[in-house]
Amino acid sequence: MIKEMTATVALVSSLGTIGYSDSAKYVYFQKINSYNELQIPEFYFSLLKRVKPELDAVAHETAEAGWDGYGALPVHTGTVEQAQSFLELLPNGTPYPSVGAEPDGQITFEWYKSSRRTLSISVSPTGELHYAALFGLNKAYGTETFYRDVPEKILELIGRVYSL
């Protein structure tokens, strides 16, 4: 339980820009964890361990040009490595994304609550994070670069997908 608290507090700390009190953030991410049906033992699994099999499957499926039937570029090993690095840097307790690929050969991570509450992040081979999100009638899009840590903007957007 103490480990669980520590991990959650670490996540809350990294999301300090959201603008809620510490206690509100704690309750907020407990609800996110409930949403993802996380059980306590599973909480200790790293996000990478949970998502890596899907990343590997997508990498395998998209390794050849034309994998989408429309002339898509292949996803190269360097891009997969960047995507894995990004996953490794996400704080424990971050909701699990689904993995995909785009026709330019970039790996994507998607956080999805509904079609109007969704965030997609593309990881380029050079470490750029191109994001686009729908929050009801509002939208957000842009580019961030990651190196050694995940940009606060990205963490804020992930939290916003699951905000109440």
């Binding site: 050849e64 994998w67 989408d68 002339g71 995909g100 690929a101 191109h130 729908l134 939208k139």
Partner: protein
């Protein structure tokens, strides 16, 4: 194969534009469509088929032809949007008939070269899309 009718140079707003889905990765478990289905290729011409005047049989035959181009291709279904959905994103649908293969072929054009702009428009199109399993 499909048919006699030629597409008008200006595709009407209500025309249904079908994007064939060839990878399960474009479909969520709730059968909603991921934005990946509508991300433009490098030439910024997104291929769809104007399907309003086609029979179901003809639509799926075109889809099967498209699927054959993919290694181990399997047609999963199609994502249907309208030309109005396209124009709502400040994009345009223009006829691009492919003789002997798909005279109902259409390109969605007007994409920005900027990746985040492509993504946000693809998200909006995916939100508007209706998935029809094959």
């Amino acid at each position: 194969m499909s048919s006699q009718s030629q597409l008008p140079s200006l595709i009407p707003d209500q025309e249904i534009l079908s994007r064939f889905v060839l990878t399960k990765n474009w479909i969520r478990s709730d059968n909603s469509i991921r934005h990946h289905a509508f991300m433009p290729p490098a030439d910024l011409n997104l291929s769809v088929t104007a399907s309003t005047k086609l029979s179901e049989e003809n639509i799926w035959q075109i889809g099967l032809d498209v699927a054959q181009k993919r290694p181990n291709g399997e047609l999963k279904g199609r994502a249907d949007i309208t030309a109005l959905n396209v124009r709502s994103q400040e994009l345009e649908a223009v006829p691009d008939p492919i003789p002997d293969t798909n005279i109902h072929h259409v390109h969605i054009i007007g994409w920005s070269a900027e990746k985040p702009l492509q993504k946000i428009k693809a998200l909006e199109l995916a939100d508007a899309a209706h998935f029809v399993p094959s």
